[in-house]
């Protein structure tokens, strides 16, 4: 079953990369457990980030991204407070 542009769930519940079939997670409970995780400054998201976040807040922010460990396709992107865990999760049960 397709989950989104980049991930599929196999018959055995394994979550894989839709582009290269690399296993991203053994089960839907931790669907992206094997994904590469990287954090960078928000400005690395490109020129769309217009001003230094420090102009507006004292809280450090981070560009957080997940990648397929094999083909390095980008699986997820968010800019969020660095001291905050990611709240973006999914779990499909059927």
């Amino acid at each position: 079953m397709k989950i989104d542009d980049n991930t599929v769930i196999g018959e055995n519940g394994t979550v894989s990369c839709a582009h290269c079939a690399a296993v991203l997670g053994e089960s839907v409970a931790q669907p992206l457990a094997r994904a590469l995780r990287r954090e960078r400054p928000p400005a690395d998201a490109g020129p769309g980030v217009r001003a230094d976040p420090a102009t507006y807040t004292d809280r450090p922010l981070v560009l957080r991204q997940l990648f397929c460990p094999q083909c390095l396709v980008l699986l997820a992107t968010e800019i969020a407070p660095a001291d905050e865990p990611s709240f973006r999760h999914w779990s499909v049960t059927r």
């Binding site: 769309g48 997820a76 973006r88």
Partner: protein, 655 residues
């Protein structure tokens, strides 16, 4: 000073009951009803004719409102909502304009039935006014609503309602956007439902009580009559419809519209896998000087044919004006349900809501308790709620090949408020918000880019006023209004571009204008991408003092960039209030939509076309999309392939 609870205020924040529940509890007024068999016996032709007529009536209400209003916010920008309800306030049909407003009007109708039927009573020709977001009827105090019972043969047959944004209803700051506000007492005082029109007569005492608070009472009085007129139009049309088809048939259609919407939404949900999708929406700053970041957490669970939106984990309500009430939370959910799940389903929230459960703790930033500040609630926590809900619903839809075509990444992350006040070129006082950010960028989809400056999820029929209308109406001249490169979130499909406007005070007898600025999304983007797509750009507002623009104009030139303005450039904080002098120029840059998919998978030709059209900068084409352009702007295929391979490793931190 902390927000101190006010005893007794709880009665204005009840959970809305269904029509069936209200039938058991309301006394003092006879509610029309029909037997279930009347719905079952409804012939399809009558259903279709009357159903379409009811839809058309909500549009006619909007037309009437626009024709009578004198506010550009209404006449040109469509910041209003209209709806028809059954006898118990369940929404039968909402209009295509501000669906946040329409999604909260039912709450006010239901509260009125419960609390006003005995005293002062609800009778033929009555109309009620409300701008209390704890009750409903709007998401902040500027959303002032008028709703009216329709009696037929002595029974309360239905309700009609209209709400629109009022440009000023008092409070510390012009436009009622009290950027320094700590609680609701800094803001326009919320008015729970009062009988504004009694047996067909506008009550002058209540009208005076209402208008006295505004800096522009004549304009507000005109809008009040516009909403009364919209209700008159609706009631006239409904009465004719009932005369023609009979009350039983019309009510059966109303019932069937809601049950049909409900059953069709349930069918869509059943076709999707069960699961849970979580998201978060951030806001930077809840008042002037506040440098904190607040989060709204949404966990959406889909089981069989129901959706549960659980906001547990959302930050507590804050000192400031960015909280929203439960009406705002609900108003954050319904626009996404309507636009993403119900594009082919009747917009009958009374039925759709039967498929939804909401879990939220009172006292949180998107379900605040009195007297928390809510002046910006509609475009602050309600909008942020909408962003979080949008992400969850879109991810759920992505799992189904057919329904995925309806998803959209988060569109324009919030409203970039530029509010002007002062003396206009005709010598009269004025207050208005410049509604240019109505042209937000829409989110990318699974098979196409987001629409550039395409609008807002919550106001499908919203629009921007012509530059000339704004210049004619208010003492300003535009230097430009345009789409902004790189404002759309990069992705395999790019988010729609946001835009910017730049203007200078002009022809005011007092020289300049007063400026109120309020916009989050400056520290971090508010329109996230999906499936690896990047978020849209951040919001960015700049006030440049003492520019040479007048001299440029005198020389026949219109500055086209901030660098050409000269002067002292000040990057504006999230929330601020100041005066603009005659040589000061304000630049407001609102948000685009989030991207979809990995930008390194975007077709290089599309990137090249975006660069040629000014939608993407050459820097972003190379640094984010990995596309190398040859001398004439065409794609260098080999160099692009190599660059993308390198960029793919660099961004993942792989040596």
């Amino acid at each position: 000073m902390p927000i101190i609870p006010v005893a007794g205020s709880e009665r204005f924040a009840t959970s809305p009951k269904t029509t069936a529940e209200l039938r058991e509890s309301v006394t003092g007024v006879r509610l029309h009803d029909i037997p279930p068999a009347a719905v079952a016996d409804l012939d399809p032709l009558t259903y279709e004719v009357v159903r379409h007529r009811l839809t058309a009536i909500t549009e006619e209400m909007g037309d009437a409102l626009k024709r009578m209003s004198g506010s550009v916010v209404v006449t040109d920008c469509n910041d209003f909502g209209t709806a028809i309800f059954d006898e118990g306030g369940d929404s039968v049909q909402v209009g295509l304009v501000n669906t946040q407003l329409a999604a909260s009007l039912d709450m006010a109708v239901k509260w009125t039935l419960e609390n006003r039927a005995g005293n002062p009573g609800i009778g033929p020709g009555d109309m009620f006014f409300c701008n209390d977001p704890w009750v409903g009827g709007g998401l902040h105090q500027n959303d002032a609503s008028i709703f009216a019972p329709l009696f037929y043969d002595g029974e309360l047959f239905a309700w009609t309602g209209a709400a629109c944004h009022q440009v000023d209803l008092g409070g510390v700051s012009p436009g009622s956007w009290s950027v320094a506000g700590r609680d609701v007492f800094w803001e326009s005082t919320p008015v729970p439902p009062v009988k504004m029109v009694e047996a067909g007569t506008l009550r002058s005492d209540i009208e005076d009580l209402y208008l006295r608070r505004s800096r522009v009472p004549k304009l507000i009085a005109l809008d009040l009559r516009a909403k009364i007129g919209a209700n008159h139009v609706a009631q006239d049309r409904l009465r004719r419809l009932i005369d023609k088809y009979g009350p039983t048939a019309v009510k059966a259609v109303m019932r069937h519209m809601m049950t049909d919407a409900e059953s069709r939404l349930r069918g869509k949900l059943r076709a999707l896998p069960d699961g849970t999708w979580s998201s978060v929406a951030h806001q930077d700053g809840a008042r002037a000087g506040d440098r904190a970041i607040y989060k709204i957490v949404c966990q959406m669970t889909k089981r069989a044919d129901r959706l549960t939106f659980d906001f547990t984990g959302t930050d507590p309500q804050v000192e400031g004006f960015a909280n929203c009430t439960f009406a705002g939370l609900r108003g954050g959910i319904m626009p996404i349900v309507l636009t993403m799940l119900c594009g082919d389903i009747q917009w009958a929230p009374g039925g759709l809501l039967r498929c939804l459960d909401i879990i939220s703790e009172p006292g949180t930033i998107n379900n605040c308790t009195f007297p928390a500040g809510i002046g910006k609630g509609s475009v602050a926590s309600a909008w942020a709620t909408q962003n979080a809900v949008s992400e969850c619903v879109a991810e759920m839809l992505a799992t189904d090949p057919e329904q995925a075509k309806s998803l959209m990444s988060v569109g324009c992350g919030t409203w970039d408020l530029a509010l002007l006040a002062g003396v206009d070129q005709r010598g009269g006082g004025f207050v208005t918000m410049i509604c240019d950010s109505m042209a937000g960028g829409l989110g990318a989809r699974v098979d196409q880019d987001g629409v550039d400056t395409g609008g807002l999820n919550c106001i499908p029929m919203g629009r921007v006023a012509d530059v000339e209308i704004n210049e004619f109406s208010f003492p300003i001249l535009y230097l430009w209004r345009r789409e902004e490169a790189d404002s759309g979130g990069p992705g395999r499909f790019r988010g729609g571009l946001g835009g910017s406007s730049c203007f200078i005070p002009h022809d005011s007898p007092i020289g300049g204008v007063h400026l109120v600025v309020s916009a989050t999304g400056k520290a971090l983007p508010q329109a996230p991408g999906l499936s690896g797509g990047y978020p849209a750009g951040t919001q960015y507002d700049v006030l440049t003092r003492g520019t040479s623009t007048r001299y440029s104009f005198a020389g026949g030139r219109i500055p086209a960039t901030l660098d050409e303005l000269g002067g002292d450039r000040q990057v504006m904080p999230n929330h601020a209030e100041t005066d603009m002098g005659p040589d000061d120029v304000y630049y407001t840059h609102w948000q685009g939509g989030g991207g979809y998919g990995d930008p390194l998978l975007r077709a290089p030709d599309l990137v090249a076309a975006d660069v040629r059209a000014g939608r993407v900068s050459a820097g972003a084409a190379s640094g984010v999309y990995g596309v190398v352009l040859a001398g004439h702007g065409t794609v260098d295929e080999d160099a692009t392939s190599q660059h993308r391979t390198q960029l793919r490793r660099e961004r993942a931190g792989v040596a």
